[in-house]
Structure formats: structure tokens, C-alpha cells
Assembly symmetry: C2
């Protein structure tokens, strides 16, 4: 078990050193790096892992440039129930666009969206989902899409918490991101969500800059019109960063294998495998279990959003840490 106070070791940054005199002293301060986490075995596992891989005298030491940590977004860094924020955006946008698409009144899946008919929407399946994504996410410039999303993120309110989604980031995870970075880790978001949707808020909300966000993407085409270059978003999905796509996305974008991965659903199973299996060094796989109906939501195997079933089974055989929101987190959201 761990005491309430931990030694926070500030390792140097993993970036190549610039041509400047080094004046940075290693600093040791006795502070709890994860104050929103209860002092459970889970917290001890995390702290022990971070301390081991960043201690040059520990057999588990990992060079700073190899300390890559990947986090899923929906349900891992912020609330994903009752529907993913990006899906809420897509439905909102389809309703908006319906004004100029009268034909949608009789055309599925749009009819279902306009009428709020959840059963018909679910019945439209994956094909319907793709039609909604294409209609809401493409056919404009990248700049215009950015503006549209930014305005929605600013104005939308979560149906249960009645707050902007960006205020529903998990406080314990923000602390974990900063704790990892303070110990030389480079943190990345690796999400099934679309990369350009996420980038509108990830820097302000999580402190993770655009270049460290990996996600699904649509095809874009470079054009110059009237001397102004732009990127046109085409009605075709180019990459889905979910399930087996997560290791592919990590490999394409990051180019290194993570040593820590944190997810919460079956969509993260392959990312946790890729991080922890078949490799010699110290590795940590983490799964957030939403078991807190009072403070947030309780769901796992039966939920259609954020299904946690096969990954939960794999956790016990693979040595992944299952984080209980109810027991391991002192607070869920930043307190007002």
C-alpha cells in the first residue's frame, strides 16, 4: 500500500535537447501527484509503475523517449453516456441541415434523426451511422468544420449534468496525464472519434496539443481557389481508429509502441494488447470500469455505448488493472 504522500520526481523532457545551456535541476517535492485518486491498490500500481520506469537504477527503467502513454477519449477522459458527444453533435447538425434537405423527411436514417426515433436510428445500423457522419462532417472546408464544431462544443449542454461537455473531463485523469508528463512521458489521445472534432477542445480541456491526438479521419483534398489554399472535406471515411485500428493508428502517428495504455471499452482491447503483450519490458494496461451510477453512470457488458465485455474478460488473463470509478476515484469531476 502507499501512503498519502508521494515523491514526485521531475524527469527531463523526452524532446531532443535544444542548443541551450542546461539549467534545469531535478526537483523533488513531497506532494501527492494524484489527489483525486483514493489510496487504493490501483493508485499504488500506477505510482509504482511510473516510479520504476523513470528510475535509472530500477531494472524496469525505460528511456524517456520510449515513455509513450496512450489514452482513449470517450469514457476514458470524459463522459460518453448517454451518447458520445460527437454523435450528439452529428445528430444536432443533421437536424440543422434538414432545413435545406426537405427530402430527408422521408429518407432514413435522416427521418429517424429528425423525428428523434431512436429505434429506427438503431435499425439503420452501421450504414445509417456512416450516412449521418458523412452528412454532418463533410462537404465543407477544414476551417469551416473547425468553426462549426467549436461553436457546438461551446453551446451544447450534457443532458444529465447540464454543463458543457468540456467540463465533464475526469479530474483524476487530468492529474494522471500531468503526473505522467512530469515523469518524462509523452501522452497521446487515441480515439475512435474523429481527429478534427477532438482537436477543437483537447488542448484546452486536457492540455494535449493537436499533434498528439490520433483519431478517425475522412478524406480531404487540397485546393487553391482565388489564391487561397484550403482543404476540402470529402464524403468518404479514410480511417477508423477503433479496435484493431488503434494499434495501426498508433504505429502510423506515434511510431513507437506505448508502455502504458488506458481505455474503458472493447474498442480499446487491441490497444491494450499492443501495449502490453509480447514485449519484454515494463508495461501497464488500464481499463476504467464505469460502476458509479450515483456520480456518473454504471454500465459494462450490456451497454450499446462503451461496451466493456471482452476487454473485461481479457483484463484478468492479461494482468490489466481495472480501475473502479466508484472505489478508486475520490472525485470524478473538477469541483466547483
Amino acid at each position: 500500500m502507499v501512503s498519502a504522500l508521494f515523491v514526485l520526481s521531475c524527469a527531463s523532457s523526452p524532446k531532443p535537447e535544444a542548443a541551450e545551456p542546461k539549467r534545469r535541476a531535478d526537483v523533488e517535492a513531497v506532494v501527492d501527484p494524484l489527489p483525486s485518486w483514493n489510496d487504493t491498490a490501483t493508485k499504488a500500481r500506477i505510482i509504482d509503475f511510473v516510479r520504476a520506469v523513470s528510475d535509472p537504477d530500477d531494472p524496469a527503467f525505460v528511456e524517456p523517449e520510449e515513455r509513450v502513454a496512450t489514452f482513449d477519449n470517450d469514457g476514458t477522459l470524459w463522459v460518453e453516456q448517454p451518447v458520445y458527444a460527437e454523435m450528439a453533435f452529428a445528430l444536432h447538425r443533421v437536424k440543422d441541415l434538414a432545413k435545406v434537405h426537405p427530402e430527408w423527411k422521408t429518407q432514413q436514417p435522416f427521418k429517424a434523426v429528425i423525428e428523434g426515433d431512436r429505434d429506427a436510428l438503431v435499425a439503420s445500423g452501421n450504414r445509417g451511422l456512416i450516412e449521418i457522419v458523412v452528412a454532418s462532417h463533410t462537404g465543407m472546408s477544414a476551417t469551416l468544420f473547425d468553426t462549426i464544431v467549436t461553436e457546438w462544443v461551446r453551446d451544447a449542454r450534457h443532458p444529465k449534468f447540464e454543463k458543457p461537455y468540456t467540463e465533464l473531463a475526469y479530474q483524476p485523469q487530468l492529474e494522471l496525464l500531468r503526473y505522467l508528463e512530469a515523469n518524462g512521458f509523452e501522452t497521446f489521445i487515441v480515439s475512435g472519434g474523429s481527429v478534427e472534432f477532438m482537436r477543437t477542445y483537447t488542448e484546452q480541456t486536457y492540455g494535449i496539443p493537436p499533434e498528439r491526438v490520433v483519431g478517425s479521419s475522412i478524406e480531404t483534398r487540397y485546393e487553391v481557389q482565388g489564391g487561397k489554399p484550403s482543404l476540402l472535406r470529402l464524403p468518404q471515411i479514410s480511417f477508423i481508429d477503433d479496435k484493431g485500428g488503434k494499434p495501426v493508428g498508433i504505429h502510423k502517428h506515434v511510431g513507437r509502441r506505448p508502455i502504458l495504455a488506458f481505455g474503458n471499452s472493447d474498442g480499446d482491447l487491441e490497444m491494450l494488447q499492443w501495449t502490453t503483450l509480447g514485449s519484454g519490458g515494463a508495461r501497464l494496461g488500464l481499463l476504467l470500469h464505469h460502476d458509479d451510477a450515483e456520480r456518473e453512470y454504471a454500465y459494462d457488458r450490456e451497454s450499446s455505448v462503451g461496451t466493456l465485455d471482452r476487454a473485461l474478460d481479457a483484463a484478468s488473463t492479461s494482468g490489466w488493472v481495472v480501475v473502479s470509478m466508484k472505489n478508486d476515484w475520490k472525485t470524478v469531476f473538477e469541483e466547483e
Copy 2:
């Protein structure tokens, strides 16, 4: 004009600050940040630009997180004549694989590669090129490909300089990369070359880590065999990071628009447009002109490798700086 001595201002890193006490003092040292550059108007333009965008009191000031600089690789950071290093690798690998592909003796473009028939190779065109790339770059795991490339990069020698390609990085460009980073820039490679080929040497050769390399890529598939996860390289090109693909690649990977871009051929035209046109702030586009037959090579409009024609015309109308290897560079390669 600039004097031989410059003030090197070490701005803080663009990364979000970690939860650690700040002990880093801004340091000013009177040193020439670009000693391998002659004291020409070109050097003055670069220094003036970097000083302006990193000076909070200058009207051209740019926030550190927006200081993104993108560099082409072949012909901009290292030698690309008489053929791109990656093409030399592909041809070498096809010859190697020919031992287990007897049918290639009568099959183009492989016959041309085996016989060293350059005319027949050129005649096989783009389709032939793709066949060579697929044969040499796919059909193995990402890990095995990494090993194959690493060994080739270690053993191959440039036909003119008789040195490993990695010793043919341009010294003035290495200084420029470090100078930009010391002034808060985040540097990226954005190349038509394949991302996994480049990543085997970019960190050691240029000090640019894998996650800051953007390039062409092939499709990969995640698999688990015998409990070991791997990424299988499939015989299909997924993205070509050249010409109009460069702004697309930058947008996908970096998620910010560069404020400085450095290229050397028509393949970089769109990247320089995307960086410099139609935007209000301070921007710098640079083109390396290979006009130094004595120390390296002299080529531009007529060359089939690294053609510099349309981009050279665009430079004068767009205000891009044409860097003369002959006149602007004091040294080309690191001196022994």
C-alpha cells in the same frame, strides 16, 4: 544585413507545462546559431523571421504552440541525387528478393531492376514504380521491415560520396532545426518518402523523433498470432504525402498550419502555398536550390529526381526565399 554574431534566445518549450516548479531561466548567449551559413541576405531573412515571431514585443509575434516548422526530407535535409535513398533501398531489395522470384527474370519492371536497365525502368512508369514499392516494402511485419531498413541504412554507401546516406545530412539544416527548436518551434519532417523508412534514421540523423515524421504510408493490419500482436504490411499504398498530399498530411498529423516550410522541389509547392498564402501572420517559405556541382549536385528544371521548376517560378511571385547551396552555405556536410 546581419553581423556574424547573433543573440540566441532560448524560449521555453511549446509543450504544456508539467506540474513541476519552474527553474528554467531564459538564457541569452552571444553565439552564431547558424555557423555553417554564410552571412548573406538569406541568413538575415531567416534570423530576422525567427527573432520577430519569438519576440512578444514584435508585431509579428507568434505564440510558441503555433510555431510549427515543416521540412521536406530528400534534397532538403539530405542528398537525393542520383536517386532517392529509399529508391536505392527498393531496387536493392528487389534484387535480393529476385533469388526467390525466378519469374521476375522475364517480368517488368523487375527484369529492368535485375538487369540494371534504367531506360526500361523509366518506361515502366508510375505503375512499375508502385510494383517495386509494393514488392520491396510490404508482405512482412512492421518489426521485420524496420530491421531490413535499419540494416540497409547501416550498410549502404552513396555512389558519389562513398559514405552512409546518414552522413550526407546537410550541416546547415541541422543547425537550422536546432535554432528553430531553441526558439520554441516544433519541427516536423513532411516527405513523400514512406514514414516507416524514414523513422529508422530520423532521430539519430536529424534529432527528429518518430512522432514528428509525416510521410507516405501503406495499409497495415493488426493481428495476434500465438499471443503476440503484430502489424502486417499489406500490398497497398494508403497515402502519398507529396504535392497536394503534403498539406493533407500536415493537417492530419500536425493539426496546425506551419509558419515556416522548407522544401526543394515541385513536390513541395503545395506545402509552401499552404504555409504562406492566404494567412495574415508572419510566414516564411524556403526553397533549397541545388546549384553546387562541386560540393554536391547542380540541378533544377530538367532533373527527373527533385524537379524544381514550377516551385521556382512560384517563389518570386510568392515571396519565398530561394537558398543557394553554393552561395548561402559555408559548408554542406559536417566536416570530419
